[in-house]
C-alpha cells in the first residue's frame, strides 16, 4: 500500500477516516454521539499492557496495521463458498453484512413474524424511530472502553432486532458479518442492538466469517436488552481467517426474571478478544455465559467476562473451555461482581483448558468482587493435557492415536457444545470443529 507510511494511532482519529459517511443523512443526536465517542477514544487511546484489563493481550498489532475502512471496498469482491452456504442455511432469517455494510441481496427475513422488526441499523436511523433510537449506545460504555468508543464513533452499519411484548420467534435470527479483505487490510465496526420487550423470546446467532485471505479487523459492539421475563438464547461464532483481528463487546442488560444464555465459539483470528458483560439489574434475572475457544499456531484468544449482580436472587453460570495447540495463547478473565443489594446471588464460574502442545499457554484469572454477605459464588480453573490413560484405553481397543486424540479433544469441546440449545447450530459447529481437528491432525 502506497500510503502506508505512518502507523500511529493518529490514523484512527484522523479526519480522513472520520470524514466519510458518518454524518451524512444522520440525525443530529447521532452525529453528536459520534463526535463525543471520537473524543473519548482520542483521550483514551489504545489500551496498553499496563492497563490491568489488557495485561496479557497486546493490541499493538492492531494499532500498527494501516487499515482502510472496509466500506470503501464493500462492493468489490463477490463471496461464495460451501461454508457460507452452510452458515446461511442456519436460518431463513439472515441479515448479512459484508465488510460492515448491509447486503440486501444476500439477506432474507423469511419466517420473521409480523410485528417483529429486524434490519440494518444505518437505514433505521435515516428514518426516525424513537423506540429503538432512544436506547442506542446506552449500555456499552464508550466513555470507559476504547474499542467501544472507536466503534461508537465509526460504525457504518449493523443489525437491529426489536421483539415487541410477547413475541416469540421460532427460527433463529442470524446476523452474519462477513469480512472480505484482499491485499489491503480492512477495518469494520459492526454494531448491533437487540431489544427484547417483556415476555418475548428469540434466539440470536451472531457469526463473523472471513471470506478473503487478507487481514481484517472487526471491532464489534452488540447491545442486548432483555425485558421482564424475556428469554434470549445467543450464539456467537467467530470464524474469521487466522490473520484477522477481532475485538468484540457484548453488553447485556437484564430486567426482572429475564433469561439470557450465550455460547461463544471462537475458532479463527490472529488476535481475538471477546468481552461479554451482563448486568443483572432486577430480581430473578438469570444469565449463562458459555464459551469454547480453540487456538493454534500463534493465535491469541482472550475471553473477558463480567457478570454484574446488582439485584438479589439472580443465578449466573459461566463455563468456558479452551483447547490450545501450537504456540497459541488462551486467556480467560472472569469477573463476578456482587453488589451490596444482591443477596442470594448464586454464581458459578468454570474455566477448563486443554493444552495440546507444550508451547501453548493459558492465563486464567477469576475475579470475584463480593459486597453482599448471603451469596454463593464458586469458581474453578484447570489447565491440563490429554489424559494418557484414556488415550491408551482407546488405543488398546483398536482406535488409532490420531482418532483417539481427536475423540478426547472433541469430548472436551463437547462439554460446551452440548449446551447449545439449537440443534442446527450444534450440528454446524460440530462440523466446523471436526474439520478443524482433522486438519490439525493431518499436518
Amino acid at each position: 500500500m502506497a500510503e502506508a507510511v505512518v502507523h500511529s494511532e493518529l490514523q484512527w482519529t484522523s479526519p480522513q477516516v472520520l470524514s466519510k459517511r458518518p454524518g451524512s443523512g444522520e440525525p443530529v443526536w447521532l452525529k453528536n454521539l459520534r463526535s463525543e465517542a471520537s473524543d473519548c477514544f482520542a483521550e483514551m487511546g489504545f489500551p496498553t499492557r499496563n492497563h490491568e484489563e489488557w495485561k496479557y493481550t497486546s493490541v499493538s498489532p492492531i494499532a500498527q496495521t494501516p487499515f482502510r475502512p472496509a466500506w470503501q471496498q464493500s462492493a468489490s469482491r463477490p463471496v461464495q463458498s460451501a461454508e457460507l452456504d452452510a452458515l446461511k442455511k442456519l436460518s431463513g432469517i439472515c441479515l448479512v453484512f459484508v465488510n460492515g455494510q448491509y447486503n440486501e441481496a444476500l439477506s432474507s427475513v423469511q419466517g420473521l413474524p409480523a410485528g417483529v422488526r429486524a434490519g440494518s441499523l444505518a437505514s433505521l436511523f435515516t428514518t426516525s424511530d424513537e423506540i429503538i433510537a432512544e436506547r442506542f449506545a446506552k449500555y456499552a460504555d464508550y466513555r470507559q472502553h476504547a474499542f467501544v468508543a472507536l466503534n461508537t464513533a465509526q460504525w457504518q452499519d449493523g443489525a437491529y432486532v426489536w421483539l415487541p411484548k410477547g413475541a416469540v420467534v421460532k427460527e433463529p435470527i442470524h446476523l452474519l458479518f462477513i469480512s472480505n479483505a484482499g491485499d489491503t487490510p480492512l477495518v469494520a465496526h459492526p454494531r448491533t442492538l437487540i431489544l427484547a420487550e417483556r415476555e418475548s423470546q428469540a434466539s440470536i446467532i451472531e457469526s463473523y466469517w472471513g471470506a478473503g485471505q487478507g487481514i481484517s479487523f472487526s471491532n464489534a459492539v452488540s447491545e442486548i436488552v432483555a425485558g421482564d421475563n424475556a428469554v434470549i438464547d445467543h450464539t456467537k461464532l467467530q470464524l474469521e481467517n487466522d490473520r484477522s483481528f477481532h475485538i468484540a463487546t457484548l453488553q447485556v442488560y437484564q430486567e426482572r426474571s429475564s433469561n439470557f444464555k450465550s455460547c461463544s465459539v471462537t475458532l479463527g483470528g490472529a488476535l481475538v478478544r471477546n468481552e461479554a458483560h451482563a448486568v443483572l439489574d432486577a430480581e430473578g434475572a438469570e444469565c449463562v455465559l458459555n464459551g469454547l475457544y480453540l487456538g493454534r499456531e500463534k493465535q491469541l484468544v482472550d475471553n473477558h467476562t463480567i457478570i454484574d449482580h446488582a439485584q438479589p436472587h439472580c443465578p449466573s453460570r459461566q463455563h468456558y473451555n479452551g483447547i490450545l495447540d501450537g504456540q497459541s495463547t488462551g486467556i480467560f478473565n472472569g469477573r463476578i461482581i456482587v453488589r451490596p443489594d444482591a443477596q442470594k446471588t448464586d454464581a458459578i464460574q468454570k474455566n477448563r483448558n486443554l493444552l495440546l502442545s507444550d508451547k501453548a499457554q493459558v492465563d486464567s484469572k477469576p475475579q470475584l468482587e463480593i459486597y453482599a454477605n448471603d451469596v454463593r459464588c464458586t469458581h474453578g480453573a484447570t489447565v491440563g493435557q490429554i489424559d494418557a490413560e484414556a488415550l491408551f484405553y482407546l488405543r488398546s481397543r483398536g482406535i488409532s492415536l490420531k482418532d483417539a486424540r481427536n475423540m478426547l479433544v472433541y469430548a472436551f469441546a463437547g462439554e460446551i457444545l452440548e449446551r447449545i440449545t439449537s440443534q442446527k447450530i450444534r450440528v454446524l459447529v460440530d462440523r466446523v470443529l471436526h474439520a478443524r481437528l482433522d486438519a490439525a491432525s493431518r499436518s
Binding site: D387, A388, E389, A390, F392, Y393, L394, R395, S396, R397, G398, I399, S400, L401, D403, A404, M407, L408, Y410, A411, F412, G414, E415
Partner: protein
C-alpha cells in the same frame, strides 16, 4: 498363540517384571494368580502396549509376530484385547460411538468393510442382552459414572463386540457379586474356541469354577514361580502365597549374590 520369553520390564527405573516366561496355545485358558504388587497387571499392560513400562529384555510374540514392535492399536487389530483392572472413564465419548470406531478400525485392518449401522445395533442388542445390560449403557459416555460392577460388565461387552483372539482379563471378577460373575463368565465362555485364547488374572479361585482354566500360574515378584493345572488354584486358596513368596525371596537373594 502367545509366547512370552524372559520378559523384563521396568517403570520409573524400577524393575517390575523380572523374567516372565509364558506360552499360551490357541484354544487354551490360562489363569495367573499372585499377591498384590507381583506385577500381574504390568504383564497384562505390557502385552497390550502401555508405553510407560519399558521393556528391557525378552520378547512377546503373537503367532510368531513381535508384538513389542506394534502400537497398542495395531496389537488390538491383531486380536489382542485387555479388559482393564481399572477401566478408564471417558466423559463425552459415547459407548456406542467408541465401540463402533474400534470395531471399524479392527475390521478395516482385516480387510473388511465398515459395519452397517443396522447390523451394528442388532449386534449390540444381542451382546447386551447376553450380559443383562440395560440399554441406557449404549448411549452413556464410556464408563463415566458407572459403578465398579458396571464397568467390568462393560469391559466384557466390549470384548464380545470386538471378538479378540487373545483376551486378557485383569481382575474382571473383583467387585462382582456372584450373579454378575456368572454372567461375565458366561460371556467369556461364549467366546472360547479353538482359535482363541484367554488369560485371566485373578485373586480368587471362585471365578475359575466358572471359567475353568487349562493352566494356572503363580506370579510372585515379577516371575512365574509355579505352573500347574486347575487344581493349583484350589491349593492356593488353601495355603496362600506365603510358601512361594519365601522361595521367591530366597531365589532373589541368591540371584543378587548376597
Amino acid at each position: 498363540m502367545l509366547t512370552v520369553r524372559n520378559l523384563h520390564a521396568s517403570v520409573a527405573g524400577r524393575e517390575i517384571l523380572r523374567g516372565i516366561d509364558l506360552k499360551i496355545n490357541a484354544g487354551e485358558v490360562h489363569a495367573i494368580m499372585g499377591p498384590n504388587g507381583s506385577g500381574k497387571s504390568t504383564l497384562a499392560q505390557v502385552i497390550a502396549g502401555r508405553d510407560i513400562y519399558e521393556v528391557t529384555e525378552g520378547e512377546v510374540l503373537l503367532d510368531g509376530k513381535n508384538l513389542l514392535e506394534l502400537k497398542p492399536e495395531e496389537r488390538a487389530c491383531e486380536g489382542v484385547f485387555l479388559a482393564f483392572q481399572y477401566p478408564v472413564e471417558i466423559p463425552g465419548v459415547s459407548n456406542m460411538y467408541f465401540l463402533r470406531s474400534a470395531l471399524n478400525s479392527i475390521r478395516k485392518h482385516r480387510g473388511l468393510e465398515e459395519v452397517d449401522a443396522v447390523d451394528f445395533l442388532a449386534l449390540v442388542e444381542k451382546k447386551m442382552n447376553l450380559l443383562g445390560m440395560d440399554k441406557t449403557f449404549r448411549d452413556r459416555p464410556v464408563n463415566a459414572g458407572f459403578s465398579g460392577g458396571e464397568k467390568k460388565r462393560n469391559e466384557i461387552f466390549h470384548m464380545l463386540m470386538l471378538e479378540p483372539r487373545l483376551a486378557i482379563l485383569d481382575e474382571t471378577d473383583s467387585g462382582l457379586d456372584i450373579d454378575a460373575m456368572k454372567v461375565v463368565s458366561d460371556g467369556v465362555n461364549s467366546l472360547r474356541g479353538k482359535d482363541r485364547a484367554v488369560l485371566v488374572v485373578t485373586h480368587y479361585q471362585r471365578l475359575l469354577n466358572y471359567i475353568v482354566p487349562d493352566f494356572v500360574h503363580v506370579q510372585v515378584n515379577g516371575r512365574i514361580v509355579k505352573s500347574g493345572g486347575k487344581e493349583l488354584a484350589l491349593q492356593l486358596e488353601e495355603s496362600g502365597y506365603a510358601q512361594f513368596e519365601e522361595e521367591a525371596m530366597a531365589g532373589a537373594a541368591k540371584g543378587s549374590g548376597r
